[in-house]
């Protein structure tokens, strides 16, 4: 049991209707991820990697197949339950940071806890602690537009960590950053991974992929290679 995967995908498929045309974004993906893994998903655009990430993040439901998170099948849960899982068990890091402009840094970090109904004091404590961890202690009361891109992405990472997630999903986290800031972000990822966090990252950049443990390539909605570095 100790080695059983934290995430297991069994024959996962997703079909969209785009007008009259059916688009098969994923065609039966079988994958397993263990805790502490650092995975990159790569592939040309339209290969289904965004769809896969959305399904992993419980933002979408598969057309068929099973998604087991921690041994529980999530594919049949209702919207509220999926929201609960997103808030409590999954961390998101987006390409365009996706911070909420009217909130301060510390409030942005605390959003997932807010939606779990935690007390304000607890939320702010935890958020301040994580701001410190990503090196933004002196910025906690700034608004997102007062920060550089790299700083905003660090806020996003702190926000992804605040609920102590089973897995952190990162969608091109360095796509909008210059290489120096991008490296800073990846260094933080490496460090967190060493501490036992599971990362699944989508990227185009082979260099970044080289830093990770395992690279999965998709094409036309199917896994074409699954390589350990």
């Amino acid at each position: 049991m100790a080695d059983s995967p934290v995430i297991e995908l069994q024959g996962l498929s997703k079909t969209y209707a785009m007008g009259a045309v059916l688009v098969h974004a994923l065609r039966g993906v079988d994958l397993g991820f263990k805790q502490g893994e650092y995975i990159t998903i790569m592939g040309p655009s339209g290969c289904g990697k965004s769809t896969l990430l959305n399904l992993l993040g419980c933002l979408d439901r598969p057309t068929s197949g099973k998604y087991l998170l921690g041994g529980y099948d999530l594919s049949q849960l209702d919207d509220d339950a999926l929201s609960g899982i997103r808030g409590a068990r999954i961390g998101f890091v987006f390409q365009s940071y996706n911070l909420i402009p009217q909130l301060t840094v510390v409030e942005n970090i605390g959003i997932p806890l807010y939606y779990q109904g935690r007390s304000e004091a607890e939320t702010l404590d935890k958020a301040a602690e994580l701001a410190e961890r990503v090196g933004l202690t002196d910025r906690i009361n700034h608004r997102p537009f007062e920060l550089s891109g790299g700083q905003q992405q660090r806020v996003a990472i702190a926000r992804a960590l605040v609920n102590d997630p089973l897995v952190i999903l990162a969608d091109e986290p360095t796509g909008n950053l210059d290489s120096a800031s991008g490296n800073e972000i990846l260094d933080i990822f490496d460090e967190l991974n060493r501490q036992g966090k599971t990362f699944i990252m989508v990227t185009h950049d082979d260099q970044i992929a080289m830093r990770t443990m395992r690279v999965i390539r998709l094409r036309d909605g199917q896994v074409v290679s699954d390589v350990w570095n």
Partner: protein, 450 residues
Amino acid sequence: MSGTKVDFHVFAAPPRLTYSYVQRTVLLGFRSLWMHRLRSLLTVLGIVFGVCSVIAMLAVGEGASHEAQEQIRRLGSNNIILHSIKPVQDQNTSSRQTYAIDYGLTYADLDRIRATIPGVTIVVPGRVIRQWVWNITRRVDCEIVGTVPWYTDMRKLNMIAGRFFSMDEMEKISNVCVLGESMAAELFPMDSPIGRTVRVGSSYYTIIGIIQAEASTATASPGNSAEQAAATDKATAATHRMYIPLTAAKNRFGETLVKRSSGSFEAEKVELHEAIVRVERQEEVLDIAAIVTQILQRDRKKKDFELVVPLELLRQAERTKQIFNVVLGSIAAISLLVGGIGIMNIMLATVTERTREIGIRRALGARRQDIVIQFLIETVILSCSGGLVGVLLGVAIPVTITRFANMITIITPWSPFIAFSISALIGVMFGIYPAFRAANMDPVEALRHE
């Protein structure tokens, strides 16, 4: 490492409508609205003016109707007022008019009313003649009131000096008079007028008393119907009054009034211009009014009197006010509806504009209902703050009107509360659709939105 043993208690989502959750959501709402101050301000203007106009219009309307009702009430809700009116004449008799038309209420009528109806406590007959009153070379424009000795009891007027005339003097048709205090001061600035005489036309009257001004009594104790009869005369508060026995008035000034109209003289003989029948209990007013009409009609060929029942007028005024309120209410409802639609319009735009924020929140664990609550609270904040400003303006406007336009306005205590509650309700009503639209967005689509 045991990755499978995961606590999934989150499946049962905790209830979130706690005090601190709502408090934080409200704060968040304020900040989101504050980010677009001008837009928020313009959005709430509809509600502001709606609420403000409801309160202001109600206050002005209430003031106007209060004034009308007060005037009617001054006639006395226990009173039945009888007026003499000139009957409609046949065309052929009026063409060759050589005799005086004899019409109107008579002393006999009043005797009969008093004798027939037990509920009637008092009848004040009165004649009012406007004349100059002289003291040697000083003169005063004055209303000479021919009345009865119990006049002071009815009006609850106090004598300042001397006494009012007696029944005896009335029967003897004595030339005595009682002056109002303002008039006494003007005619006799130096010494006491008691025992002196004043001249009216060619007759002299001995002054036996000075009485307090009627207007002051009328305002001092409103609601006492009898004394309010003063207001029935069109006398203003400043009018000078002199009281003489009714019989003297009848003798000296006669009952014949000569009027010149279109080349011919018309003479009219009227015993009494006006009389007030006072009824002990208000419930009996309408019945007794009917009886009085019957008594008076019994031996009259033509209708030469008019019966005014203030109570009936009061009821009519109340009905008018109800209609007025319904009309005002509809106008208010429409203006608030328009305000609500304005809010909904902006909230729909806001939801579209903030699609990405909604996506982020959904990704970070917000349930649909969290999004609904967030946007609903924002709408309610908008409409409530609009309502609050509207209430303040709506209270300020009538106050300003009263101060500068000298118009009575009455803000009924419930109207600000009702107006405010309606504005809050409108926030909920018109916020529901945009909020649900926000909540039903697909998180994936919302996150992709630019």
